[in-house]
């Protein structure tokens, strides 16, 4: 879903810098990145391992900032709340407006509790007074919506009794149960077989589309990004290198790094393998922003 560019961003990240280590000897990881996600929009942040894509998602969730060896500056605004300092307070103020889906659904679920109890906890965090029978009814409906064949049986199961694909569906149902404004998905389904991954991504696309949920997809897989996202940021070693709509980026990649990535991916239509360097000074060239894709102007709260 492409919204008019005037729509208010639900998430705005400005000049985000991050370093790990002691104050005196910190290693920079992010060198001032900016991105935004508008209401109902599907945005991808794509990069290789070590590019900083996952730490960006974790900072946006407020999950990293409390560590004493983490130094973050810049701005992360969600729903008008500044989250650069992170922590429990941010999580409490945001409530259920942001949810996250992780790479490996089976390890993201608690192995010692049945799905039923975990689902009740999720629903209770959105509605403190909800009764068990009402929570179970809503959980069953949510599981049916992600095409789980026997929701009652799934609720009575432990995560290890369900397949990876079923657990991913449970995760999606839980993440969307409280109708978040923004869903962050970090490499969803990467641990699953391709056919299952394709199904769960399709499902996630359909549900978020229907509900107008914005998604920030973190991925290393450009194919997944092309299928899923409206707009794409490419990140390389802590710097954004290219930003465009999915059509712009895949039809007209302009940054040498993006071009190298797209060329290096083996194609099912053939064409062999290109001879490309793993690293090149060209990859450090300035960021390319495609037409109509600039960051929105700064707004004072």
């Amino acid at each position: 879903m492409m919204l008019a560019p005037t729509a208010e961003p639900v998430l705005t990240i400005r000049d985000l810098r991050l370093a790990f280590g002691s104050r005196r000897n910190a290693t920079p990881v992010l060198h001032g990145i900016s991105l935004h996600v508008r209401t109902g929009e599907k945005v991808a942040l794509v990069g290789e391992s070590g590019s900083g894509k996952s730490v960006t998602a974790r900072l946006a969730m407020g999950l990293l900032q409390e560590s004493p060896r983490t130094h973050a500056t810049g701005s992360i605004r969600f729903d008008g709340i500044e989250a650069i300092s992170g922590g429990r307070e941010i999580a409490r103020r945001r409530g259920n407006r942001v949810a996250m889906i992780f790479q490996d659904p089976t390890s993201a679920l608690n192995p010692t509790f049945r799905i039923r109890g975990q689902f009740r906890d999720v629903l209770r965090s959105g509605d403190r007074g909800i009764r068990d029978d009402e929570a179970d009814r809503r959980a069953e409906a949510a599981l049916a919506e992600v095409s789980i064949p026997d929701p009652k049986r799934a609720l009575d199961s432990y995560a290890f009794q369900l397949s990876g694909g079923m657990n991913q569906r449970v995760m999606i149902a839980m993440a969307l149960a409280n109708r978040p404004a923004l869903l962050m998905a970090d490499e969803p389904g990467t641990a699953l077989d391709v056919t299952v991954q394709a199904q769960t991504l399709g499902l996630m696309h359909e549900l978020t589309e229907r509900r107008g949920t914005a998604v920030l997809l973190i991925s290393h897989n450009l194919g997944v990004v092309r299928e899923f996202a409206d707009r794409v940021y490419v990140i390389y070693r802590g710097r954004m290198v290219e930003h465009g709509t999915t059509a712009q980026l895949f039809h007209d990649p302009r940054h040498p790094y993006t071009r190298a990535l797209l060329a290096a991916i083996p194609k099912i239509s053939g064409g062999g393998l290109p001879d490309l360097p793993e690293r090149s000074p060209d990859f450090d060239q300035p960021m390319v922003v495609h037409e109509g894709c600039g960051e929105p102007a700064e707004r004072r709260p």
Partner: protein, 272 residues
């Protein structure tokens, strides 16, 4: 071409907690010398069981495996073990972190008594150079090396005892795409230069298209389709193969057209 490896009605059954699990059933398959033959399948397809059988790590429950025309016995000779080597998915766990890179590459030379003690050091340096690493790497620890460098070292180690067949078990799935492209190039060059045969296990059909000449598709322990790579991608015969190709996330319009046609069961004119 002649067959280097032949599987004749091979089956493998495991028993766990009193349950019989058929991991591989009635597989007959032939690998030609010098080819890169991809084995494709999802989890539970039996592709890793197949690798373990070929490597002699587990015995078949049924059928026989012949190498260079000779049936492989339960207890393999040193020569037979030397001739079939393995490169695994995760190069970090495949290399002993307490051993230098040089010692890891040298170990198979020591085990198989290849060369003299003095000649082995220069052999290690030559192997490292062959995989694109300079000789200084011999003194380093695998810790602190990148995934691509570690995988090159694992390849050098597999080459150390001059194998004829290398089982590559998802050798690039843990690597970033730019690194993957380099390692695939290296594997291709080595196969041509040394006349190696690859049994290339992967779940990535695009990688199959880029590097393999033949592909065999496995589903739930059964071989469902086998043939030249071009044929499988232009006209897959089984619904399962179509489903696998149809699920690949693609990056170009050309790929998308091919994939959509395969999903629909038809094949576009320009794909062949």
């Amino acid at each position: 071409m002649s067959a280097i490896l032949e599987l004749d009605r091979v089956g493998k059954t495991f028993t766990a907690d009193g349950h019989r699990v058929v991991a591989l059933e009635d597989v007959s398959l032939s690998f030609e010398r010098g080819e890169c033959h991809a084995i494709v399948g999802e989890s539970g397809s039996g592709k890793t069981t197949l690798a373990n059988l070929v490597l002699g790590l587990i015995p078949p429950s049924a059928g026989s495996i012949r190498f260079n025309g000779v049936p492989l016995p339960g207890e393999r000779s040193r020569e037979q073990r030397r001739s079939i080597q393995l490169v695994q998915q995760n190069p970090l766990s495949a290399l002993n972190p307490r051993r230098s890179v040089g010692a890891s590459v040298r170990l198979p030379l020591d085990v198989h008594g290849i060369g003299t003690s003095a000649s082995r050091a220069s052999r290690v340096a030559a192997l490292l150079e062959e995989v694109g690493l300079d000789g200084d790497y011999a003194r380093r620890s695998p810790r602190g090396l990148s995934g691509g460098q570690r995988q090159r070292i694992a390849i050098a180690r597999a080459l150390a005892c001059e194998p004829e067949l290398i089982v590559l078990d998802e050798p690039t799935s843990a690597l970033d795409v730019l690194v993957q492209a380099r390692v695939l190039q290296l594997l291709h060059r080595l196969r041509v230069a040394r006349g190696l045969t690859y049994l290339f296990i992967t779940h990535d059909l695009a990688v199959v298209r880029a590097i393999a000449s033949r592909v065999s598709v496995f589903q739930k322990g059964r071989l469902v389709e086998t043939g030249p790579v071009e044929a499988i991608f232009s006209d897959p015969k089984t619904a399962y193969t179509r489903q696998l190709i149809g699920a690949v996330p693609v990056v170009t319009d050309e790929e998308a057209r091919l994939r959509d046609a395969i999903r629909a069961g038809a094949v576009p004119m320009d794909a062949t």
